[in-house]
């Protein structure tokens, strides 16, 4: 019988996967849109709560619940025996035959729903929809084979935890769905059988085993789908560097790199391809260094290097802006100068680019009502002081820091100083409310910044920067012997200065609290936590990239024009002292 159930389970795998894919397509949750290459990082508990209560998330939870019920029903049928039907004929105490509720199937179906629900919640918390790219390229089959044991282990462990929680919930609240099912389906409860929401009913090892096996099966199908999706999506795609036909021009590497309208994944694939071609493929490198046929312009190189440099400059600007907001917030300063400075930095602000998505507040969230938005806005913008609050000493002063933290408040204060009394009273009232709120433990708990989350959010899309750095540095290295027209030479000063400026910004960032603390390594989760260590990877890649250029060119770099400060910095690299 066990063998039969396993055989059935395996046979059911393809149809269930098909059902999942069809369902997920129907529910305007096209996988391409749900899965992203940039993780969404919640900077505080309240932002996480906002994500969890988002309507999109609600729909996804409902879909998962329904699918969980369907799979659990399939499991119940395949296991058979006492789980087979929801109702069975029984004889009441008065002797009349009627349909009774089979609680065993009910508990299995509800377990499926519960596991589905908790899977969708955990998906948000663990960033399950984030797809990371591997540093090691492998063929799809080998990668799948390599990850299979992990998937089995994860689904078994996760199922165990979910079923444990489910049993606790069922013990306390199980009577509600049971009564509801009885009422809607006009079934009866037998008085002879034990109700399952009792200790005696739940201490049934075989029931527990069946619940666990079904939950494992359910999670396994989902994890396998996820794994296959990740493997197929992140597979290396080789873009042509240049095409001889104009109709294919939009598929060429420089074009794909430049356009921002396409899904982010395309840009990432193009950058990955760039990093690989610059490392492994001399013939394609040659195309990058080539000149256009009429005209003799290095269009390919210009487009590629320009895009990489703008990506890196964007990151530098972001880091500098973040550092400035943290630095200005940390020290006490007079109101007037502070406010001016603050507003100017607000307006210059964080550069708006598609890559800074995690910084823009989620306006379609349920917290979009104006009053609440005022509360949530600083949090979702990753307002700096949350990141700096760490000692209890500062925590006690929190209310004051709060009022001076947001630019909005500053503006209001400014205005209130200048204008009428009415406004001032309102402002005082406002502050009193905020003070009151800030003293409540729960509110503080919800609004407190998660440590290192802002740092993670800053580097959320750094995989792109890592590839840009690798691509540029390998191309520059190869240009030493392969670039016959000297197209790279003209860009060398700008590449070096861009990297050195970024290096300085990264160094400064890592001096901030929490920035250099290592996240806990979690191995028993299918959720990808690569984004937590991206900043370390970026730092290491950046250093290696600069060393790659200095080692290749050596003393020739003295002939490159650059500022005195950069030359000093570069000298450190030439002497291997960084």
């Amino acid at each position: 019988r066990a063998a039969a159930s396993i055989a059935w389970a395996v046979l059911l795998l393809p149809p269930i996967t098909a059902v999942f894919i069809i369902l997920s397509r129907f529910s305007f949750l096209h996988p391409i849109h749900t899965i992203s290459v940039i993780p969404t990082i919640a900077c505080s508990k309240i932002a996480l709560l906002g994500q969890l209560l988002h309507p999109r998330q609600f729909v996804s939870s409902v879909v998962h619940c329904i699918m969980g019920i369907i799979v659990a029903w399939c499991c119940a049928i395949t296991i058979g025996g006492r789980y087979e039907t929801l109702g069975y004929p029984c004889i009441q105490s008065d002797g009349s035959p009627q349909m009774c509720l089979n609680e065993y199937q009910l508990i299995l179906l509800l377990a499926g729903a519960f596991v589905g629900f908790s899977h969708s919640l955990l998906g948000v918390i663990h960033n399950m929809n984030y797809v990371s790219f591997h540093t090691v390229q492998q063929y799809k089959y080998l990668r799948f084979k390599g990850s299979l044991p992990l998937v089995v282990k994860c689904s078994a462990i996760q199922a165990l935890y979910s079923i444990r929680n489910y049993i606790v919930v069922y013990f306390f609240l199980g009577y509600i769905p049971r009564a509801w099912i009885c009422k809607t389906l006009n079934l009866h409860l037998t008085s002879s059988a034990h109700p399952l929401d009792s200790i005696a009913g739940l201490l049934d090892l075989s029931l527990f085993y069946h619940l666990w096996i079904s939950a494992t099966f359910l999670l396994f199908t989902w994890y396998i789908t996820l794994l296959l999706f990740r493997i197929f999506v992140t597979e290396v795609y080789s873009f042509p560097v240049q095409s001889s036909f104009t109709e294919d021009a939009h598929q060429c590497l420089p074009k794909v790199l430049l356009t921002d309208k396409q899904p982010m994944i395309l840009k990432f694939l193009a950058l990955q391809d760039l990093a690989l071609l610059s490392q492994h493929s001399p013939s394609r490198r040659c195309e990058v260094f080539s000149l256009s046929q009429p005209g003799g312009h290095p269009h390919n190189w210009n487009a590629i290097s320009g895009e990489c440099l703008s990506l890196l400059a964007d990151l530098t600007q972001r880091l500098v802006a973040y550092h400035d907001t943290v630095a200005t917030n940390g020290r006490a300063k007079s109101l007037s100068t502070g406010s001016e400075r603050k507003t100017s930095s607000e307006t210059s602000g964080i550069p708006v680019s598609p890559l800074t998505a995690p910084f823009t507040p989620d306006l379609d969230s349920p917290f979009a009502s104006p009053a609440l938005r005022r509360l949530t806005a600083p949090v979702e913008q990753c307002s700096p002081w949350h990141g700096t609050v760490q000692s209890p000493h500062i925590m006690r002063r929190a209310p004051k820091l709060w009022s001076t933290s947001t630019g909005e408040r500053r503006l209001m204060e400014d205005r209130s100083l200048r204008s009428n009394k009415h406004c001032r009273i309102q402002f005082e009232l406002n502050r009193a409310v905020k003070n009151f709120l800030a003293k409540r433990v729960l509110i503080m708990y919800l609004f407190n910044k998660l440590p290192e989350a802002s740092s993670q959010a800053l580097f959320a899309d750094s995989q792109a920067h890592i590839w840009a750095l690798e691509g540029l540095s390998y191309l520059v290295q190869a240009s030493f012997s392969e670039d016959h027209f000297g197209v790279v030479q003209t860009a060398l000063p700008s590449i070096l200065s861009c990297m050195l400026v970024l290096q300085e910004a990264v160094d400064r960032h890592f001096k901030l609290p929490h920035a250099s603390s290592k996240p806990v390594r979690s191995t028993s989760s299918i959720g990808d936590s690569t984004y937590k260590t991206l900043r370390f990877a970026l730092r290491a890649t950046l250093k290696t990239a600069i060393y790659r250029i200095t080692t290749t060119f050596g003393d020739h770099l003295n002939a490159v024009q650059m500022s005195a400060e950069h030359r000093k910095r570069l000298q450190q690299f030439l002497e291997y002292k960084e």
């Binding site: 090691v136 390599g146 370390f536 990877a537 290696t544 060393y547 291997y576």
Partner: protein, 520 residues
């Protein structure tokens, strides 16, 4: 074909090899005769007595201090922590007999059925592991013995200097000593940082990260450590916070590590794990490359151009991984396992030695990157035979030659050094372009009674090649080979072409060539 017969005879006793100059090896009686060169770095001497050694191993000292009045639960937990499942079962089995023998002991007696059943489980486990061990005999070794067996160092367990590594770009080097500490010497700096870490035990290998000034990877008994030693810091004892600990369950002891020449990846191998681990060190994540067969991985060597990795196993099989898509070729050997290997500077030729044989084999890889078709020879060619040879010298007959422990090729591809089992270094002159040629150069000998244990070529010596040798006496010496490059631009570690020499000396190689590749 016996290659050693064509070698110049070994030096009379009392003479040490100093350097190669004008195409011959010069010798002297003491190190004072060494011609003064500003580029020759410091020689070091670590007398065995100066090191504070662990007088006894941890397991033996445990018995002396273990408090036997602990409760069973405490002891079981400790046994689980220290020895895993086997330790726990042993503890339970032993505690029953102990409760009977010593009535003074206040520990509660274990129920008989528990101790008996755990004893049976233990016996069953041992039976299964002995069965497994009969397939792969190396699995029955203790981890120290395993490192000694598979290390590139001759007689590792008795060696004062256990590992050595030159920095790929500068003149500094790291030395791992018998007392589990690592010292970093830099001729340009007065401080010599000493690295010590709780987990840094039985160091089998150290290697500096290429394209980086500070990172040093250390293969330890239970994990991998990556130290970040700031070259500008004046601290002599960097804290253990400077070290990243990389570990993976089932991947210990680590006997070999190799950085990719681009500095982005680190691979590590353990004789008990069939998977090669590819580490992304910054992210502290690893990808296991699992291939069944072989019973483990003992030695790794990354080709200087980064395209291939040699991975040898404890059985008669080695693999050559291609690093683009990480697929591998299997190369079964006839006689024994692959003991050592080294790559030519352009990564196209692999020289390797097999345990139990006295010859050096060569494999040529001419495949274009990306294509999976292997277009080289289907079998390895023998390029040198180092079998026993007797030299008649005024001091009597000297017998040299035997099994080869390790191979090392200088970064320009002009000198090849091999450590033989009866402890002598034979150096060959090599040419890789336009055809592969092997010519005799001579033997490198140390002080009387000193055996070579470990050797490495300096990665960027300006005047030729510099061979660093660690001797059994605890001395580290450097033997320079002064020569002018044969004029062919070679690729260094960084991939940057070295400039061809302007003056080219008339070729004065010994006219008996040992091996010349035939171009078909």
């Amino acid at each position: 074909m016996c290659s050693l017969a064509l070698f110049p005879p070994p030096l009379p006793s009392g003479q040490t090899t100093l350097c190669e100059s004008n195409n011959e090896l010069l010798s002297g009686t003491s190190t004072e005769d060494r011609p003064k060169q500003e580029s020759s770095p410091l020689s070091l001497y670590f007398p065995r007595e100066s090191l504070k050694l662990h007088s006894r191993t941890e397991s033996s000292s445990k018995a002396a201090f273990l408090d036997h009045s602990e409760t069973l639960w405490m002891r079981s937990a400790a046994a689980w922590r220290d020895g895993g499942l086997t330790g726990l079962l042993t503890e339970i089995t032993n505690s029953h007999t102990e409760g009977i023998n010593s009535p003074v002991s206040c520990s509660p007696a274990v129920p008989k059925w528990l101790s008996v059943s755990s004893g049976c489980t233990l016996a069953l486990l041992r039976w299964i592991s002995s069965f497994h061990g009969s397939l792969f005999p190396h699995l029955t070794l203790s981890s120290e013995d395993m490192i000694a067996e598979f290390s590139q160092v001759l007689n590792w367990s008795d060696c004062v200097v256990r590992a050595f590594s030159w920095h790929p770009h500068t003149d500094k080097f790291a030395v791992a000593l018998l007392d589990d500490s690592i010292k970093i010497y830099n001729p340009k700096s007065a401080t010599t940082p000493t690295l010590k870490h709780r987990l840094q035990r039985s160091v089998a290998a150290v290697q500096w990260k290429p394209l980086c000034a500070s990172a040093l990877a250390v293969a330890c008994q239970n994990c991998l450590l990556v130290w970040h030693v700031d070259p500008c810091s004046l601290s002599t004892r960097p804290s253990s916070g400077c070290a990243q600990v990389l570990s993976h369950p089932g991947h210990s002891p680590v006997t070999s590590i190799a950085w990719s020449p681009s500095g982005s990846l680190l691979v590590s191998a353990s004789p008990v794990d069939t998977a090669v681990m590819v580490w992304d060190v910054a992210a502290e994540s690893c990808v296991p490359l699992q291939r069944l067969g072989g019973g483990g991985v003992t030695f790794l060597s990354w080709s200087p151009d980064g395209s291939h990795v040699l991975a040898s196993t404890p059985s008669t099989l080695f693999r050559v991984w291609e690093t683009r898509m990480w697929t591998c070729e299997r190369w079964p050997c006839v006689k024994g396992r692959c003991q050592s290997g080294c790559w030519s500077p352009d990564g196209s030729r692999l020289l390797f030695t097999v345990q139990g044989e006295t010859v050096i084999y060569a494999l040529t890889f001419t495949d274009a990157p990306g294509s999976r078709l292997y277009s080289g020879p289907q079998a390895a060619a023998v390029v040198a035979d180092l079998s026993e040879t007797t030299f008649n010298t005024p001091d009597g007959d000297i017998i040299v030659g035997g099994e080869i422990q390790s191979l090392s090729w200088d970064p320009r591809g002009e000198r090849l050094a091999a450590v033989d089992r009866p402890a002598i270094i034979a150096v060959f002159k090599t040419r890789t372009n336009p055809i592969f040629e092997l010519l005799p150069c001579g033997f490198v000998q140390g002080e009387p009674g000193a055996e070579p244990r470990l050797m490495q070529f300096h990665p960027n010596f300006q005047h030729g090649a510099l061979l660093t040798v660690c001797w059994s006496t605890g001395r580290i010496t450097h033997v320079p080979f002064y020569f002018l490059s044969t004029g062919v631009p070679h690729f260094g570690l960084s991939g940057s072409p070295l400039l061809p020499r302007l003056q080219e000396r008339p070729s004065a190689f010994a006219n008996q060539s040992l091996f010349t590749e035939l171009i078909s």
